[in-house]
């Protein structure tokens, strides 16, 4: 395995602001918003299912991207030095996701079946301490606020020392300088800033990981598991949040491949090592997602308990069986076969193809977690409205990430200094 090369000085590069890209993303937002409003008039429940599943998907990959930068920070990884900022940039979507969560909190009987069933179901009445609207709103707001806050703080700490290098660099305009001013208040000097950021990031990173596991479990319990209020599975949380992590890795790959096409520096620094490692991670998580999926499935299948099976049967029997098979092939069969070799990880076009397949698979999976539980017999299982409403989220996500990468240096300029306690092997 190759030695990881870090250039002595990393040039300051921003993603270009592009009118074209903004127009496209803006159009997506408008289309999605219009679609949502139109669909709300036609079939409110279906509109909300699309809204919630897209929220789960895009919030998930944004959180997962931040988690990638946090996890590689904790493990002192060096291979992703040129990708740190890419996965950090997803943080820009999180405040948007927070706002997008608020209308969901107004959902009642139209989305949560347990609200009505509670009155005449003794088993559900026993869950009333958890399944009630005020607590649902409280825990979602608190979890989202905590996660967003921690993520923003982590990325703020990562950005701050860069501001020293970015000062007066080529490509700095008024907006960028304005943000630099904002971020470099109370500047302590380059070395002190780097030391301070390093220390604080290392201290707070585990907290984000812990809240990620708990918070994401809360989201998926509420917005997917509780829709079949008799069903429960301890694996559901990990399955969801590891999937989101995987989505974060796959979308980091896609964004970095996009960056490569934009600038010579990106093209050079997002090199073989980075693509190979991203490909390996995407492949490993393909197997890991399948492992979690299968471990949950086989226990339920073998146990054959009526209340547990119902959830699986609803998804494996008609009309959903084909759809679920599609999810499994996009999340497992295709990326497993595709990414197992070395070539697919190294060739940008192939890596982009397979990570897109993974993201599509995950996007459909989020839908399959929610929609079958609320499906009315005879209705179509998948309509064009799902991707149309998804445009709202996709557009906002692209705008947020693009804004971040074009406002702040798109490759992190400061890198953690080698641990003074462990000297380097090949100094000689």
């Amino acid at each position: 395995m190759a030695h990881i090369h870090l250039p002595g000085e990393i040039p300051v590069r921003y993603l270009d602001r592009s009118k074209g890209a903004s127009t496209v993303a803006g159009t997506l937002v408008v289309v999605g918003l219009v679609a949502f409003v139109v669909r709300l008039g036609q079939d409110a429940q279906s509109a909300w299912i699309s809204y919630v599943t897209n929220w789960l998907f895009f919030t998930g990959i944004a959180m997962g991207g931040v988690l990638l930068s946090v996890a590689t920070w904790i493990t002192k990884a060096k291979w992703n030095w040129s990708l740190r900022r890419v996965s950090q940039s997803f943080v820009a979507f999180l405040p948007v996701a927070f706002v997008l969560l608020l209308p969901m909190l107004g959902l009642r009987e139209g989305y949560f079946p347990w609200i009505e069933e509670m009155a005449h179901d003794p088993i559900l009445q026993r869950k009333a301490a958890y399944l009630n609207v005020p607590f649902l709103i409280t825990r979602n707001v608190v979890a989202m606020a905590l996660l967003t806050g921690l993520a923003l703080y982590f990325v703020y700490l990562a950005l701050r020392p860069d501001m020293g290098y970015a000062k007066g660099a080529e490509g700095e305009d008024e907006v960028r300088a304005g943000w630099r001013e904002k971020l470099s208040q109370n500047w302590m000097g380059q070395d002190a800033e780097e030391a301070n950021s390093y220390k604080r990031m290392t201290t707070m990173a585990p907290a984000f990981v812990i809240f990620y596991a708990v918070g994401m479990s809360i989201f998926v319990y509420d917005w997917a598991m509780s829709l079949e209020p008799h069903w429960f599975s301890t694996m559901f949380g990990p399955w969801f949040f590891m999937g989101a992590f995987w989505g974060g890795i796959a979308s980091t790959a896609l964004w970095s491949l996009y960056l490569r096409t934009k600038d010579r520096v990106f093209h050079h620094e997002i090199g073989l090592q980075q693509r190979h490692d991203l490909g390996k991670l995407a492949f490993a998580f393909t197997v890991f997602w399948t492992y979690l999926f299968f471990s949950q499935y086989i226990v339920i299948w073998y146990g054959k308990l009526p209340w547990e099976q119902a959830w699986i049967i609803r998804r494996s029997a008609e009309p959903w069986g084909g759809f679920s098979a599609l999810v499994v092939s996009l999340c497992f069969v295709v990326p497993f076969a595709g990414l197992i070799g070395r070539k697919a990880k190294l060739k940008p076009a192939l890596l982009a193809t397979f990570t897109s397949v993974i993201l599509t698979g995950l996007w459909l999976e989020r839908y399959a977690l929610v929609a079958p539980s609320l499906h009315h017999e005879g209705d179509p299982i998948f309509t064009i409205w799902q991707p149309l409403i998804g445009c709202l989220f996709l557009g906002l996500y692209i705008l947020a990430v693009r804004w971040f990468l074009s406002t702040f240096p798109a490759i992190q300029l400061w890198q953690p200094k080698p641990d003074p306690e462990s000297t380097e092997a090949e100094r000689a």
Binding site: T234, E421, A425
Partner: protein, 454 residues
């Protein structure tokens, strides 16, 4: 392996020359001290206890154990799962950390791999003990026979036979492969019978470019093969429980929860073993506090995963609203075996909290003590799962209390001696620290440096 040459590799500031490595590590093989003989005597006595206890059960029957309806699985299965769990960290450290390019593994992985092999050897005894009539144990294997009888392939117990034997094979091969260059180093210094033995084991290793090339290829190939096995073995073990509908066993999270727990206990066991090795043979320069720090962090991570699993199980039991589920978990916390559950929660959830502090992670005595707590806690975790679920199943008329008999305790204690017996032999026969990989992270012997060293 060249991978250890990554940036940030842990070097050993107190090791000055490459030849020091051969000297320091190989001296372990040649001079058994008083301490070694004392430990070895203790282990041999324990193996005696093990044989006597088992012999008692073979002669007088399985009634010598405390197993009875309703608790048909007890200390044997608990200890089986415990040892399979211990076996996990070896392959994790040698294969997964290798693929993740974590360079700190080079000092500990040999001992961890040996531990894996011996732990599987220990675990493998327990199904034999547990079946009672051990002379029929070969019925577990599917072989063509005159009555066309096959084991039930739908039973997770049979999957377990395959999972554990596969794991044993792959980890033994992986362990052996890694030792080849080091055994060659030992061969070059040995004399007499030992030299003959090492000549056979080292397969004529000369350290040529061609051999290193093949070695590297084989190593990474086996690492990739062993990685999914780490996950699969303990998942299958967990399904011995989760497939049934016994309350407290039937939980979807069981597979990753068991894997994390296995790594947790295995890493703790590596610490437990590495501390005395370091002390007895004066390997402070090779097993530095940085290595222990990394091991402690791994413990902390897996402790958190295990804690997540505990809490989600308790939460889900409540959330299910099912009477049976709720009662099972209430019974765990406050029933007849409350002491086992609280021991488990304290040792696995509470004690590792101390590992958040750098001072604790850098204190070898503290880590040694904590690793003992974790080992105890993880044994009790399996005891809680096995016994509390069985003694309080569905029908109240079939509830009952299980008390391990002296025979069972003798076998359980003896299994530690059996494990220790092999491990002590290993430290005398094979270099317990990987010589070749250690040299990779030392500065190459350039003229300038050798001047500095003098």
């Amino acid at each position: 392996m060249a991978t250890s040459r990554e940036r940030g590799a842990l070097t050993h500031p107190d090791v000055h020359k490459l030849s020091d490595v051969n000297r320091d590590i190989l001296k372990i093989l040649s001079r058994p001290g008083k301490g070694w003989w004392m430990l070895f005597g203790l282990a041999a006595a324990g193996v005696g206890l093990f044989l006597v206890s088992w012999g008692n059960q073979i002669v007088n029957g399985i009634g010598e154990s405390g197993l009875n309806s309703p608790v048909g699985w007890g200390v044997y299965i608990t200890t089986f799962v415990f040892w399979v769990g211990i076996a996990h960290s070896g392959t994790l450290i040698s294969a997964i950390l290798f693929l993740f390019r974590a360079p700190w593994r080079q000092s500990v992985y040999r001992a961890a791999e040996a531990m894996t092999v011996f732990a599987v050897m220990t675990a493998g005894l327990f199904p034999l003990i547990h079946v009672g009539r051990v002379w029929h144990a070969y019925w577990l294997f599917p072989y063509p026979n005159s009555r066309f009888l096959w084991p039930n392939f739908r039973s997770p117990l049979i999957w377990d036979v395959f999972a554990v034997t596969t794991y044993f094979t792959v980890s033994a091969v992986f362990f052996y492969l890694g030792t080849v260059p080091d055994v060659a180093a030992a061969r070059d210094q040995a004399t007499g019978l030992r030299k003959k033995l090492y000549q056979v084991i080292s397969l004529g290793w000369q350290g040529t470019d061609r051999q290193w090339h093949h070695f590297g290829k084989a190593y990474i190939f086996l690492a990739a093969l062993a990685t999914p096995l780490v996950l699969s073995v303990h998942s299958v073990v967990s399904w011995d429980f989760a497939m049934s509908i016994v309350p407290g066993w039937h939980a979807t999270i069981f597979a990753p929860y068991f894997v994390a727990g296995a790594i947790f206990s295995g890493v703790a066991m590596v610490i437990t073993l590495a501390v005395p090795i370091r002390k007895v043979w004066g390997l402070e320069a090779y097993l530095t506090t940085k290595h222990f720090d990394a091991l402690a962090k791994l413990c902390l991570l897996t402790s958190l995963i295990v804690l997540y699993a505990y809490l989600s199980e308790f939460f889900m039991a409540w959330y299910s609203g099912e009477e049976i589920e709720r009662t099972a978990f209430w019974n765990r916390l406050f029933g007849d075996y409350w002491w086992a559950t609280w021991t488990m929660l304290t040792c696995n959830g509470l004690v590792p909290v101390m590992l958040w502090f750098k001072r604790v992670r850098h204190s070898i005595p503290a880590l040694f003590v904590i690793s003992f707590f974790i080992n105890i806690g993880m044994w009790f975790e399996r005891y809680v799962i096995v016994v509390t679920s069985l003694h309080h199943e569905y029908e109240p008329f079939a509830w009952g209390i299980y008390r391990p008999s002296l025979t069972e305790m003798g076998i359980m204690v003896g299994s530690f001696a059996w494990f220790g017996f092999w491990f002590l032999l290993f430290t005398r026969l094979l270099p317990p620290v990987a010589i070749a990989e250690l040299k990779e992270v030392l500065p190459p012997p350039l003229r300038k440096q050798s001047k500095e060293a003098h």
